[in-house]
Symmetry: C2
Subunit: 737 residues, 2 copies
């Protein structure tokens, strides 16, 4: 059954829905003049950064698009392919930038309105922040879907490429999107954590003034950071996740299309994504029905998520049944595996990062003997979280592969893992909405503090802020797991592409069969793939090193600036004159832009350099191809494939560590601040070790260390993992010819 | 030319040489009665721990030997093979235990004598500590060589196994050695760092008394820890490195032997190791000639190392020329690559961990803004060190592989990497001597402090202690790099063994050739090997989590005990009564023994469980073998091979991080303590931020965090990497049949 019409319909409807949400938020009361003034400063700072960041990224993107187009055109011996790939890259980059921009625009317009709503009621405040967040969530997913679908339609129907060729041609879209995402996430992540760490160290620790105190010159930069990091950065991250995963799944569908002649296998990813948007839309609209005054704001959000999960299961059954013929049930089960994985990750993240359970309590206990034991035990807890993460991802891959294999279709197993990934990502728009909820409430909280609003309003935004922390942690777990699943699908697509190349030569017989019919091998028993794999894991560590160091360096610049302002104008501390917020914002922006360059270029350049270096070693006959390599006429693509695959594994594991340890340290600090750490005293009573105690100071150190881990390195690694795949996929001709 | 006679001659001569050194040290003056009393307590504590630890390890070893024998016997369908493997395992375990025991015995007897010598002259003190350390260094390497050679002789000549079979039968020796090494390194590593962290936190930080102050109840446990961790633990580590690497290289030689009919290819590893011992012996004896009074004690040690390097090059040329016929020069170049790699690592480690260069200075600078930035920048530096490490290991592997390939012998490339590893390990005995030098001088330093010896003696041991820190860092870099090289050789041996199995079936035709002639592939493009690889990296993180947590937990037990003693007997702090050192020693020992069990059993058990699980998935036909797997009749060994190879990569990278970041944090603290951190003051002058400053306190936090990283998790990972190889190699029948 031809269901592709549903894609543009749902895509456009979603954009209109997002516009309606934005309109609903923007028409609301924007608070007292003081609130408007502060919100205005945040708005200006965020926009100024985004403008400069996008200028840099635009320049880099244009250069990269041209280079990529030239490489693909030259090595694939087709100028047309090169041009189409370069154009796809630019469109992907532009769509990603638009999604990030609009989402952040609405978020920075919502924060003041959320603060104002909080002076009235919790219900109002939740409505503003959730709707503001949902604009970003829905736009990101809808634009990614429309972008891929439009490009597919244009490249196949208008430009007359075949159904088989087109998915390979639009891979550039995914590369462009992940290219922008990498720099957006890196720049935003460095900005937000440098401002956060700098403001905390110089304000809370040195000057002894509270968080968000208007006397701290870095406080506006800190509030701006939440937006550019969590809204713009994470939005770009999930935009490219959904785009890359769509295209990868379409490429995998090509093999089944060639066998069955049914184009549904290529179009399925787009259709199921459209249904995911419908489920998510209904879920978001259901949230107000579950909201009661004086309730934990997490509860209605959870109900909304359950609604989406149930609808996703139903839609998955419907779409597989209508599109996949006799074998639909195997792939429906694969989709179930993906949906279940997404639920599992919600619980794993909560267990490891919420104060109720053993891991955070262990860190709290260790804080009693100082910052060193807090860090030691925190590291142990963070490393431990890789166990369940790896088991969950591994199980999802194996089970969905086995289920897919039972369809007896070529590539069925790998396509099964793709369907699982799609099942997992059906709720992406909702998760992203909840993520953007975080910075909006965080900002609202800051605005209320700075504007001196009444304590009741502060209580409301405080409770929303705590929920925002949980939803931010969930998003990272979710983004990580989906990156892990998507990566397997993406490098399977790369191997298909490599095979595609060698199989053009009809003499490529391999195990007595044409190469077309069997998977392309990546044999790491050879020295070149093994060393490339070593480089892959190293690359992940080096990238993290650069990202973390950038935060440290930028933070120290901010600290110097705030110290200078305190020193040169004693009126600031006395409260008689205002600090120069703008200078701090400007310094942070410049440091973040400088800091994002090295790690970003490293990740794009390293696979190319290493892949080409190994290819040249083979071409110079210094490395002889093994029997296996010789049989497929190659020696080269295996090395870059090994780098990609093993680098991905390293990235997934390290990102898991970063995200979870950061969340656990953060919540250990909050646990102590909430006065929950009690120790028996000599006289048989109990003493609360709360804010200001030595244990609290130790926990603050852990929290600060965790900041660049969980908000800069971790999220950037998600993008890295997918960028590695898209860069090798697009530049495959370079490693083959 | 038959040179095998040189192996027993050199082996026995080396044992006698070590005995002579031991006698020379033991006959010396053991100092004042107070020194003797303190040294006696350290001796008793160390011996008591080793006794209990060896009891536990012995029990575990017997059970494992029986289980391994049964598994190999049953699945290989040969009771004889099972029994011989089990016996080899036990002999390996016993030899490793003996080497560790004697080395540590001499070290704990040398510390008091070194303290006593320091009251006379630097020259004397260096002589005692270096000779004491050399006993351990030479015994470890000689026993490993004699063990492998004797077992080879007995199994081949007496029991009549062929030259081809024997290397595979004595693999159990390597497994036994790595089994003991794992628990020795883990238990010793947890002991030493728990005592160190506990004593520092409760003494220096809480009570404000200096390091090694006799009022601290944990001070003896701390001194004991240096011996059981650095002497016994590292000794077992390098024992199994040399053993496993010898056997692995012999297995790789089998393929060339089958082609050339010349058994030299199997015996070469033993002969070159013997020549390495000769070079090292001459090097150690040359050190006194370079020693001058009032000189940096590192200088003569460096000259000794240069002597060994030159001799190694000459011997490598001699032995390859005599044993390898026409192709000798290719393998000589491979050996050169290995020797060069060892020199490179000496410099890399110094660059990243010594105060003179950028990395440590960066951490020092970050300490000015507190412990959080110290940890953040330290982590960035630590991650960065993986770059040069991976490049150096990768380059050594590729270059030696290419050189070996040029010999045009079957397996020549892989054998080339084996020769490089052997070149690198020629200086093992010297490196290990320098490593054991560390705890001896550290202990001497503590004894002098506690015995209240004159300040000049303290100056001498202080300078020796600083050298000891450098040599300890060097050993870790060296052990890591050799583990990385050895691992490639070991899993190549595993793949040879797997191939051996499938090639028995003459119908195994593969790419139109008998399997015998081509390498066995490990194709990670399949879902099972990919997930197994994911598990491999996770395993490394989980193991580190358990090891680090064990240190944290044991340290908190020690802190509680010392606090209790301070509380219950105020006379301790006043200096009127002695603390109960014995109880602190006992508590540490019990905590270390408990802590070593979980990570130890995890590493032995996990590859077996995962390997068997995947094998069963194939047997149950839930996973279908790919065309590639089907062609070699398998589906199973690839998964465990992927776990092994990618886990190894993860282990090498993570251990590099742990070792270097720990060393850098340690030396950043020392840099500040030495008064080298100067900041400009407002009046244009300079202020020294030294001991007691906030920057120093921040650096102490980093140093403490680094302790379990560099002395527990890092060194244990070296063993893990090789244990993964030996356990899969020995239990290969389980994953095949």
């Amino acid at each position: 059954m031809d269901m592709i019409w549903i894609v543009p319909v749902v895509g456009i409807a979603t954009v209109l829905f997002a516009a309606g949400l934005a309109w609903n938020v923007l028409k609301r009361d924007s608070g007292t003049p003081e609130m408007q003034r502060i919100a205005g400063m945040i708005f200006e700072g965020a926009m100024a950064f985004l403008r400069r960041q996008y200028q840099t990224i635009a320049m880099l993107s244009v250069v990269t698009a041209v280079v990529v187009g030239l490489i693909v055109g030259y090595f694939d011996e087709s100028a047309r392919t090169g041009v189409l790939t370069g154009i796809a890259f630019m469109i992907g980059a532009i769509c990603s930038a638009i999604a990030g921009f609009i989402g952040m625009y609405v978020a920075v317009k919502s924060n003041g309105r959320c603060a104002s709503a909080a002076t009235r009621s919790l219900r109002d405040a939740v409505a503003v922040s959730l709707r503001g967040g949902a604009v970003s969530g829905f736009l990101v997913v809808a634009l990614s879907l429309l972008g891929v679908a439009t490009l597919f339609a244009v490249y196949s129907r208008l430009l007359g490429n075949t159904m088989e060729e087109t998915p390979f041609l639009i891979v550039g879209f995914g590369f462009g999107a992940s290219f922008v995402a990498l720099f957006a996430q890196l720049g935003g992540g460095i900005y937000t954590k440098a401002a956060d760490v700098g403001a905390d160290l110089v304000g809370k620790v040195e000057a002894g003034i509270p968080e968000d105190d208007p006397r701290n010159a870095a406080v506006i930069a800190d509030l701006v950071g939440d937006n550019v990091g969590d809204c713009a950065g994470r939005g770009a991250d999930l935009f490219e996740s959904t785009a890359a995963e769509n295209i990868g799944a379409m490429i995998l569908g090509v093999a089944i299309f060639q066998f069955t002649g049914n184009s549904n296998w290529i179009l399925f990813p787009l259709v199921i994504r459209a249904f995911g948007l419908i489920a998510t839309g209904i879920g978001v609209m259901s949230v107000p029905f579950f909201t009661r005054e004086k309730q934990d704001p997490m509860t209605p959000l959870n109900y909304g998520y359950y609604v989406i999960t149930c609808l996703s299961i139903a839609f998955m059954a419907l779409v597989t049944k209508l599109m996949m013929g006799d074998n639909w049930h195997w792939f429906f089960f694969c989709g179930l595996v993906g949906i279940a994985t997404s639920v599992v990750f919600v619980y794993i993240t909560q267990y490891y990062t919420a104060g109720r359970w053993r891991p955070v309590k262990e860190i709290v206990e260790a804080s009693r003997t100082g910052p060193a034991t807090n860090i030691i035990i925190g590291t142990a807890v963070g490393f431990e979280t890789t166990l369940v993460t790896a088991l969950a991802i591994g199980t999802a891959l194996i089970v969905s592969f086995i289920l897919g294999e039972h369809s007896n279709l070529p590539n069925g197993g790998v396509f099964g893992t793709a369907v699982a990934t799609m099942g997992m990502l059906m709720s992406a728009a909702y998760i992203l909405s909840m993520d953007t909820f975080g910075p909006i409430t965080d900002n609202a909280n800051g605005i209320i503090e700075m504007a001196g609003a009444p304590a009741e309003a502060r209580d409301i935004t405080d409770s929303l802020d705590a929920v925002g922390n949980t939803t931010k942690a969930l998003t990272k777990g979710y983004a990580m797991a989906s990156a892990g699943l998507a990566a397997f699908l993406l490098f399977s697509a790369f191997l298909d592409k490599v095979k595609e190349h060698f199989a053009q030569d009809e003499s490529s017989i391999y195990f007595g069969k044409p190469l077309q019919e069997i998977p392309f091998p990546v044999d790491i028993s050879g020295v070149a793939p093994f060393v490339a794999a070593l480089m892959g894991v190293m690359l992940v560590f080096l990238f993290s090193s650069l990202a973390i160091r950038a935060v440290g360096q930028a933070a120290s610049k901010i600290i110097e600036e705030v110290r200078r302002q305190f020193r040169e104008d004693p009126g600031i501390m006395a409260g008689t004159s205002r600090p120069d917020y703008g200078r701090a914002v400007d310094i942070t922006a410049r440091a973040a832009l400088r800091g994002m360059m090295a790690p970003g270029l490293l990740v794009v350049g390293a696979p190319v350099v290493i892949g080409v270096a190994f290819r040249l070693l083979y071409k110079a006959e210094l490395l002889k191809p093994t029997a296996l390599q010789a049989s497929v006429g190659s020696g080269g693509p295996e090395a870059v494939a090994a780098l990609l695959m093993v680098g991905t594994i390293g990235g997934v594991i390290l990102a898991t560590f970063f995200n979870n340890v950061g969340g656990a340290w953060d919540n250990a600090k909050k646990y102590i601040e909430a006065g929950l750490l009690k120790v028996p005293t000599a006289d048989g009573g109990e003493e609360v070790l709360g804010k200001g105690s030595d244990a609290h100071k130790a926990a603050v150190v852990g929290d600060t260390v965790g900041d660049p881990f969980k908000d800069t390195a971790g999220p950037s690694l998600h993008v890295l993992v997918k960028l590695l795949s898209t860069v090798t996929l697009v530049l495959a001709p370079l490693f083959i010819s």
